[in-house]
């Protein structure tokens, strides 16, 4: 009788309380939104192609699409800028709700002047960003962008670089990437090099993530 009394009066309630607490925690965990975003918290000091300052505050004005490349890149960079140009046109009236950046991976050669001339061939909303290498590295690292200079001898070099777009919401959180053929189907290049996009899906996904 004593045993039964203790069980009912002491152990059972604690088991019940524990169970309720565990269920409550489990319920909250299951309903909690997965933390998909990683916020850019680093402070950096760069400049745009018009000579204006560019820092972390600019990433909180509007959602942003960023591409990291260099003007001495013959293939993937101009192709990506052309795709971005097409995308901006396809966004229509929503195009102004997003900022577009081409951030150099090659500050040695890509001065503001060089970027401005180069980008004049693409949509005028695309803003070139350059600056000191150390400051650029802060932005590369914050977005998990891989940039590596590779010496080709005789003073020549190329740059290995992440070739996907970084998708940033207006809270400066990285919410996604837009990738190229080979690891996604944002761009599909067949044997002859034709670039294919299902633009409706790109637009739909971007709007869902950013607007």
């Amino acid at each position: 009788m004593i045993t039964k009394h203790i069980l009912l009066k002491r152990i059972l309630p604690s088991i019940l309380v524990t169970t309720v607490v565990l269920v409550f925690i489990g319920y909250n965990f299951a309903n909690k939104k997965p933390n998909t975003a990683q916020q850019i918290q680093v402070n950096f000091n760069l400049e745009d192609m018009n000579g204006n300052q560019f820092n972390q505050k600019h990433l909180k004005q509007k959602p942003s699409l960023l591409f990291f490349g260099f003007t001495h890149c013959p293939d993937v960079c101009p192709a990506s800028l052309q795709l971005l140009t097409n995308l901006i046109e396809d966004l229509g009236t929503d195009a102004d709700k997003i900022n577009y950046y081409f951030v150099t991976a090659d500050p040695e050669r890509d001065t503001a002047k060089v970027l401005k001339q180069y980008l004049s061939s693409f949509n005028q909303r695309i803003l070139g960003i350059t600056g000191k290498e150390d400051e650029l590295k802060k932005l590369y690292n914050a977005l998990d962008v891989y940039i590596q200079k590779v010496d080709l001898g005789k003073g020549n070099y190329t740059i290995d670089h992440t070739a996907s777009f970084m998708v940033i919401n207006k809270d400066a959180e990285k919410v996604g990437t837009m990738m190229h053929e080979g690891f996604s189907k944002f761009i599909v290049i067949d044997n002859y090099g034709k670039i294919q996009i299902s633009k409706d899906d790109v637009i739909k996904n971007l709007k869902k993530l950013l607007l």
């Binding site: 997965p34 933390n35 998909t36 990683q38 003007t71 001495h72 890149c73 013959p74 293939d75 993937v76 101009p78 192709a79 800028l81 052309q82 060089v114 001339q117 180069y118 980008l119 004049s120 061939s121 693409f122 891989y146 590779v150 080709l152 020549n156 190329t158 290995d160 670089h161 992440t162 070739a163 996907s164 998708v167 919410v175 996604g176 990437t177 837009m178 990738m179 190229h180 053929e181 080979g182 690891f183 996604s184 189907k185 944002f186 599909v188 290049i189 067949d190 044997n191 002859y192 090099g193 034709k194 670039i195 294919q196 996009i197 299902s198 899906d201 790109v202 996904n205 971007l206 993530l209």
Partner: protein
Amino acid sequence: MKKFFTIIIFILFSTSSFSSSHHSHGHKKNKEMDHDYKIGKIEIEKPYTFFTPNGAKVSAGYMKIENESNKQDVLQSVSNVSFAEKVEIHEMTMENQVMKMRPLKKGLVIKADTEVYLKPSGYHIMFIGLKEQISKGKKYKATLNFKNAGSVDIFFKAVGRNYHPDKNHHKHH
């Protein structure tokens, strides 16, 4: 776990409507006019290069190279280019979203009875130190030097980025 936290935008793509269309016009005669070239057992189809953005210092050339021989051949070099300071043969690869480009120092091997495509995001002829902009409607001369087949003069046609060589293609693959 990282995958879980990364939203990837998957975009469906439509297959090319061009590749399935068969054009019966234009046969193997008039190769030059068709923008195709032949040297020995090597056939070069539709060399092209893209218009360059303003001030660009580099550009890339593309084509299809078919080796009809039962021996492998090697595109060892590209010479006789007046519009660039230097020409190299490059390979591009993508690993974990990272683009890497390297010169093929020993040239581009074209195995026996195979075809190799030089195309965006793959192999390309790299023009370094452009002396002029690649512009619409112009053709750009170069000499391809093969180990076995020898040398052949070709012209790269300057096209926009939406160009598709297969659009006017007359061979079925």
